[in-house]
């Protein structure tokens, strides 16, 4: 409160030239910071840590699947490995990945604000995430859970061994972090836009984060209540799902998927926002159909709430409900397709710069289309009945979550790295990494489409020998993918010490975040920015405008 009085007069010149990285070096200046940029770095470090743990679990799974007999792990051990992989990757990496790191850093910069609307809430959100993360680590050390990431009842409430309640509590707590972030983003986008930054001038990254914040706020609490009911049933025996009392386990699936299907859009919407920025910047062109892309984000968020039943086609749901959910699931592909077409059309006749961010963005588009089209297949009742709970489904959602979201996350990290750190990374290595990731990913997951179509069920580690060849391909791909993911860790960290200093706008991109220095000053802008035109204003007719890069 003491320095708040100063803010009214804003003696900008004296304090604001120091970059946010140099403003304080003590431990407290990081762990008690309310600066959205530093909190983004805290998130970046923590989610990278959980990505590593989830990756180790994935490596164990792929190693075990090399042989049809499942020689590496016991059945129980395998169940625990894939459960941990799912739980950690979904709640501790994918959901916070782009919003809490890149979004946290870039949103205030993009709209010309000094910070998020509630800076202390933002820090609290990170601490809540860390508490949840520690509980999850305790679960890992304590032996884990074997319910899968879905916690289906009555398995989770009655039969499962392991630390179900602790895991449920960890996920429940992490949900608060998500909700607080959602509230913060929504209020920031409503109330802290710079003068002239009208809704029609918002970068598409902001639109997709606005859409995802709505899902954060409205879907996460439904997961919270579901997990409360599971924990109450397991701990105190006061359950509403218990079939012995006439309760309905299917009710759990409805509640769980009411959250968890929108959660897929939580993961992919921010990625779509990233791609819109990467494509326009690489093509030096205005986005094709701004309003279509913007509204498509909102449409995905809204329709995404109405498709959860497609996870339950074989759970005994009424056929009429299934037909309805099938129709809506196909409908949700429309706004996604609009985005893909518009990105492609944006590239058409663009002044294209083939740098690593574009390679990641192109990778995203290809993998997202493959994941999306197989999603349409799965939305068809007749096909889903055959491939339900097979590797086909596993491959489909990995194309979206890993091929889509993780690729976009890496693209975003490369694109905004100069802004975040003030350093340039080695472009050649980055391009190689992008290609290695793309090849490794397809080698890992394309065989899984084939496995699933041939009938290999998910969540089994003992399988008929005829599936071995494809499983070996998949494991080899996973090794390559691991190399691809490890590469940026090295050259990005190396760039921190040895990389050349980045100019304010290395890509010649539009957007307010590129008008301030790299790394930005503590209060983001030395002067309050004023916006006079829409986003993506690239005068293609005047290539000279790139010279100011």
């Amino acid at each position: 409160m003491s320095d708040a009085a100063l803010d009214i007069d804003r003696p900008d010149e004296e304090v604001e030239d120091i970059s946010y990285l140099r403003a304080g070096h003590s431990l407290g200046s990081w762990f008690l910071t309310t600066d959205h940029k530093r909190i983004a770095i805290l998130y970046l470090v923590s989610i990278t840590f959980f990505f590593l743990i989830g990756g180790v679990a994935a490596a164990l799974i792929r190693l075990d699947l090399l042989t049809p007999a499942g020689d590496l792990m016991t059945n129980e051990g395998y169940n625990r490995a894939f459960s941990l992989h799912g739980i950690i990757m979904v709640w501790f990496f994918l959901i916070p990945s782009i919003p809490n790191t890149i979004g946290n850093f870039i949103i205030p910069l993009m709209i010309g604000a000094r910070d998020l609307a509630f800076p202390r809430l933002n820090l609290l959100s990170w601490y809540i995430y860390i508490v949840a993360g520690f509980i999850t680590l305790a679960v890992v050390l304590g032996g884990g859970v074997d319910t899968g990431w879905t916690f289906y009842t009555p398995l989770s409430t009655m039969y499962a061994n392991g630390m179900v309640v602790a895991t449920v509590v960890a996920v429940f707590i992490s949900g608060f972090s998500t909700i607080l972030t959602g509230i913060n983003f929504i209020v920031t986008i409503h109330k802290l836009r710079a003068p002239g930054m009208t809704w029609s001038r918002l970068p598409l990254f902001i639109w997709s984060h606005y859409a995802v914040s709505i899902i954060f706020v409205l879907a996460t609490p439904v997961l919270a209540i579901t997990l409360i009911l599971v924990a109450a049933e397991r701990l105190f025996g006061i359950g509403v799902f218990d079939p012995a009392l006439g309760g309905d386990p299917l009710l759990f699936q409805h509640l769980f998927w009411f959250y968890s299907h929108p959660a897929v859009y939580i993961m992919v919407l921010p990625a779509m926002g990233v791609i819109s920025e990467l494509i326009t910047s690489a093509a030096h062109k205005r986005i094709f159909g701004y309003w279509f892309v913007a509204i498509a984000s909102i449409a995905i968020a809204v329709i995404g709430f109405l498709v959860w039943g497609h996870h339950m086609f074989v759970s005994g749901q009424s056929i009429y409900a299934s037909a309805f959910f099938s129709f809506l699931s196909i409908a949700v592909a429309v706004p996604s397709a609009i985005k893909v077409y518009n990105w492609t059309a944006t590239l058409y006749k663009g002044d294209i710069m083939i740098d690593a961010p574009l390679l990641f963005a192109m990778g995203f588009i290809g993998l997202f289309v493959a994941g999306g089209l197989t999603g349409l297949m799965l939305a068809m009742l007749a096909i889903d009945v055959h491939v339900h709970d097979t590797y086909f489904v596993v491959a489909h959602f990995h194309y979206i979550m890993v091929g889509g979201t993780v690729t976009a996350f890496f693209g975003a990290l490369h694109y905004w790295w100069p802004k975040i750190t003030g350093r340039l990374y080695n472009e050649t290595l980055a391009r190689i990494a992008a290609v290695v990731i793309l090849v490794g990913f397809n080698l890992t997951f394309f065989p899984q489409f084939m496995l699933g179509y041939e009938g290999m069920p998910r969540r089994y580690h003992v399988y008929p020998p005829e599936f071995q060849l494809l499983q070996v391909f998949s494991s080899a791909g996973a090794a390559l993918l691991a190399v691809g993911y490890a590469m940026p860790t090295f050259y990005l960290l190396w760039s921190l010490r040895r990389g050349p200093r980045a100019p304010a706008n290395p890509w010649g991109a539009t957007g307010l975040e590129w008008t301030t220095s790299s790394p930005p000053p503590k209060h983001n802008f030395t002067q309050q920015p004023v916006v006079v035109r829409g986003p993506y204003y690239y005068p293609l007719e005047h290539p000279a405008s790139r010279a100011n890069a």
Partner: protein, 209 residues
């Protein structure tokens, strides 16, 4: 000007900051509504699955205690609303008294709820305890739901009491003509009230015949 003293980091204008605080609370309440929305969906499923037994199980609750609590909570909400208007019109003393009475009514609500739980314990209607005995399986299912939902609501009542208490004790909040803290605490309190207005007919009224 107390408003300017409270201006915090990213904001330049008090009015904008007030709007942001308000919007933040409303978005948070939307989230809370979805939390209980999941519970009401579960209640609907229970009733659709077991229409007759659900009604019978509901009949074992003490209708009069639930009704009294409804009246008490509504009155408490009214007092919170009065406190907001009092603060806005520059009567910090009235605001303090109104908040105080809202808190006392909230405590009364919790007292009656506890008395009701005690009665249910004596009748053996608390699941998981040694003396528990139910007429039907559905009655146990119903009581499971009853304790989870009223328990979760009770937690929200306690949080609400805390928020109202902080507003009542803070002189700056009572003297704030914009009623930012009191207004947002009251908004939360109204949500707790509204949730009860849905819980009451869901739990108590089906048993009225």
């Amino acid at each position: 000007m107390p408003e300017q003293r409270a201006l915090h980091e990213p904001f330049h204008q008090p009015a904008r900051q007030r709007e942001a605080d308000r919007l933040g609370m409303i978005v948070f309440l939307a989230s809370e509504a979805m939390l209980f929305g999941g519970l009401f969906a579960a209640a609907m499923a229970l009733r659709l699955l077991h229409p007759v037994e659900y009604v019978a199980a509901s009949g074992h609750l003490k209708l009069w205690l639930g009704t009294a609590n409804t009246a008490i909570l509504l009155t408490s909400s009214l007092m919170a609303a009065v406190a907001v208007e009092a603060a806005r019109s520059g009567s910090p003393r009235l605001a303090g008294w109104s908040l105080g009475s809202a808190i006392i009514l909230a405590l009364l609500f919790l007292g009656i709820k506890g008395y009701e739980y005690l009665g249910e314990y004596r009748e053996g209607l608390v699941p998981g305890l040694a003396n528990a005995h139910f007429g039907t399986r559905t009655q146990q299912l119903f009581m499971n739901f009853y304790f989870v939902s009223t328990g979760l609501h009770g937690v929200h009542v306690m949080v609400g009491i805390g928020l109202l208490g902080v507003s009542a004790l803070s002189r700056a909040a009572r003297e704030d003509r914009a009623a930012v803290l009191i207004g947002n605490a009251a908004l939360y309190w109204h949500l707790v009230d509204i949730i009860w207005l849905f819980l009451y007919p869901t739990l108590y009224l089906p048993g009225v015949s």
